[in-house]
């Protein structure tokens, strides 16, 4: 994908839905594109120094202690929980097939969210939704 195609992709993702095109261009340049073979872990349970990822193409499975808990697909993002808490991930995120993602270095997430508050709000909504669902499961 060239940078304009990445901008088009970003524009279609809810996380970035509130950004204008020049901002999306900057975001496209701030993230790097990465690609992984099937079976590779992108996040590793218990490892330090992880990053933030947005899926462009492909699927991943979220695996805790060897058990598959959820599947994430295009437009979904992962890695933010561990970065927000400053702790190693509590799950593996594993590529199911070939996987194509946007990557932001972990130490850059805070500055990125502060620079783009609408993205921070969308991320907060997503985390709140997950918390609500977890509470529903418990009740």
């Amino acid at each position: 994908m060239n940078s304009e195609e990445v901008v088009d992709e970003l524009a279609s993702l809810s996380l970035f839905a509130d950004l204008q095109r020049p901002q999306l261009r900057a975001v496209a340049h701030i993230f790097s594109e990465e690609s992984f073979p099937p079976g590779q872990r992108i996040l590793r349970q218990g490892f330090q120094g992880s990053g933030f990822y947005v899926i462009l193409e492909g699927d991943v499975t979220v695996r805790i202690d060897g058990e598959d808990r959820a599947k994430l697909s295009k437009g979904d993002f992962f890695g933010e929980m561990s970065l927000l808490l400053g702790e190693p991930p509590v799950a593996d995120v594993v590529a199911i097939g070939e996987l194509h993602v946007l990557h932001l270095a972990g130490p850059d997430l805070k500055g990125f969210l502060e620079r783009y508050p609408p993205v921070m709000f969308r991320m907060l909504q997503s985390v709140a939704r997950r918390l609500r669902n977890a509470n529903r499961l418990r009740s």
Binding site: M1, N2, S3, E4, V6, Q20, P22, Q23, R25, A26, A28, H29, I30, S32, E33, E34, S35, F36, P37, P38, G39, Q40, R41, R44, Q45, G46, F47, Q48, G49, S50, G51, G66, P88, E98, H100, H103, L104, A105, G106, P107, D108
Partner: protein
């Protein structure tokens, strides 16, 4: 063209064909020869050197070769400090570069680098069929067929070391008024000109740095803020050698660094207007200039490989690869050289490996060839036994001196495995991502890592019951020497479950 009689590797069937005669192709061919695998090497170029036959534009590299270090130049340890020589096992073929440099800089000139690659090929007997252009690819049963300007080659496995070499610039309206980095002219021709450089990575800053003396004003612009390598603690970001324009911009010295996207370039008589839009508030900002140069990067010239299943990603169109640099979609197709930067590795704290540079790519190529010949030709790696009592010292010595671990931090590692019969074996240099993500016998791997504060330290990965479930860092050390009692004790505790 060289006379036909002197040209090796006529079209035909070979176990392996290597395409390319830059550092990646020559290193891969050397490694194949060491393992006794017959192969052909073809290249469109008239002589070895790859990108260093032309670039960097200002004729000096930004990678070290330090002549005086604590280790003899003929040793493996010296490779740590010599980023530009290709790697050999024979002491007499090691450290080709320092002997060819004129002593005025620890950064070789472009001609010295080109000569270094040619000299390595000559000394190690790597031969290349030059002036043979790969033009297309097909499959024929279990063989790949390479169509070339000299005829067809057939091979069980093909190694493409064709660089990330094709100039790329975005098709912004008015891009016909924009020159690419590769078309930069002699510096004198920019005297008194107002220059606009698109891109704020090393190539943009290299141009700004090289043309500071001539240009009357320089604007560097791209959407993303520039970073400095001294802040990223890695080779990502602008290298120290090119920081002068940055300092000038801070002091208001005629250099301007903008965070803006480039929307359009218009010509008005002899001048150009670059219409930009600021990344922070979206406001338009037009800049009137005399010349625009795009330092926007390069793509992989993979021709029709995507038709064979080689999937590509990113602006550079890098192939999706395994951790051993084999195409995921088209097994049997391998990559060497700068293309290897498509294999991300762990990238802890966002710090990338050095696979896009010779000092990282040379080790990737050796590892790739080793795994290729093991998988396709049954040539087993040497895995010498290690005495239990010596494992800790072996690993700490590697963390302290291994050039692979220091030049490919958190990417390559030294591994020791406990076989089913209880024998502890030295697995040599391995891909760290492969080690931590594949099931296997109990094992331990050590590498060197940098964290977000810039602290450099050894990191240890222990695989038990088929899984690596955490990383463990050892303490850093002021002079990076980890052969201490404290490190021995800490590592001993980590490896004890493997050894007993």
């Amino acid at each position: 063209m060289t006379p036909e009689v002197e040209r090796p590797f006529p079209p035909g069937d070979y176990p392996v064909v290597v395409v390319g005669s830059g550092p990646g192709g020559i290193q891969a061919a050397y490694s194949l020869s060491r393992l006794g695998i017959e192969h052909a090497v073809i290249s469109a170029d008239p002589s070895p050197g790859g990108m260093f036959r032309r670039f960097p534009f200002f004729q000096r590299l930004l990678s070290w070769t330090k002549p005086h270090v604590l280790y003899d130049q003929r040793t493996r340890e010296y490779e740590w400090y010599d980023w530009n020589s290709l790697i050999a096992v024979e002491p007499e073929n090691r450290a080709v570069m320092p002997g060819l440099m004129d002593g005025t800089s620890e950064f070789p000139s472009r001609p010295e680098m080109e000569l270094g690659i040619r000299t390595f090929a000559e000394r190690t007997g790597v031969r290349v069929r030059h002036d043979t252009r790969w033009e297309g690819t097909a499959r024929d049963g279990d063989r790949f067929v390479l169509h070339t300007s000299d005829g067809d080659y057939r091979a069980q496995a093909v190694i493409f070391a064709v660089g990330v070499a094709e100039p790329w610039m975005p098709e912004t309206p008015g891009h016909q008024h924009v020159a690419h980095y590769v078309d930069t002219r002699a510096p004198e021709s920019y005297e008194g000109k107002r220059l606009f450089i698109i891109g704020k990575q090393n190539s943009g800053f290299e141009l700004a740095s090289g043309l500071l003396h001539q240009a009357s004003r320089i604007i560097l612009a791209s959407p993303r803020p520039a970073t400095l390598s001294v802040n990223t603690h890695s080779l990502a970001g602008v290298r120290a050698r090119y920081v002068q324009p940055w300092e000038d911009s801070n002091l208001g010295g005629g250099v301007f660094i903008l965070n803006a996207s480039i929307e359009r370039v218009d010509r008005h008589g002899s001048s150009l207007t670059v219409h930009t839009r600021r990344s922070d508030n979206g406001d338009p900002f037009p800049a009137e200039v005399d010349e625009v140069i795009a330092a926007t990067g390069f793509q992989c010239p993979l021709l029709d490989l995507p038709d064979l299943g080689v999937n590509v990603f990113g602006q550079s169109r890098l192939p999706t690869m395994t951790n051993h640099f084999e195409s995921v979609g088209a097994p049997g197709i391998y990559f060497a050289g700068t293309i290897g930067q498509g294999v991300a590795g762990l990238k802890k704290y966002g710090i990338p490996a050095n696979s896009g540079a010779v000092h990282g790519a040379r080790y990737n190529a050796r590892l790739m060839v080793q795994r290729l010949v093991e998988a396709r030709f049954g040539v087993k790696r040497e895995r010498p036994p290690v005495k239990t009592a010596e494992v800790v010292d072996l690993l700490l010595n590697e963390a302290t001196t291994a050039p692979e671990l220091w030049n490919q931090k958190s990417y390559l590692a030294r591994a020791v495995t406990r076989d089913d019969d209880g024998t502890i074996r030295d697995d040599g240099i391995v891909s760290l991502a492969d080690f931590v993500d594949s099931a296997g016998p109990d094992a331990v791997a050590i590498t060197v890592e940098t964290d977000d504060t810039g602290d450099i330290h050894p990191a240890v990965y222990v695989r038990r019951h088929g899984r690596v479930d955490s990383d463990a860092r050892l303490d850093s050390s002021p002079l990076h020497d980890y052969r201490t009692t404290g490190h021995r004790k800490a590592l001993q505790a980590l490896v004890a479950p493997i050894l007993t």
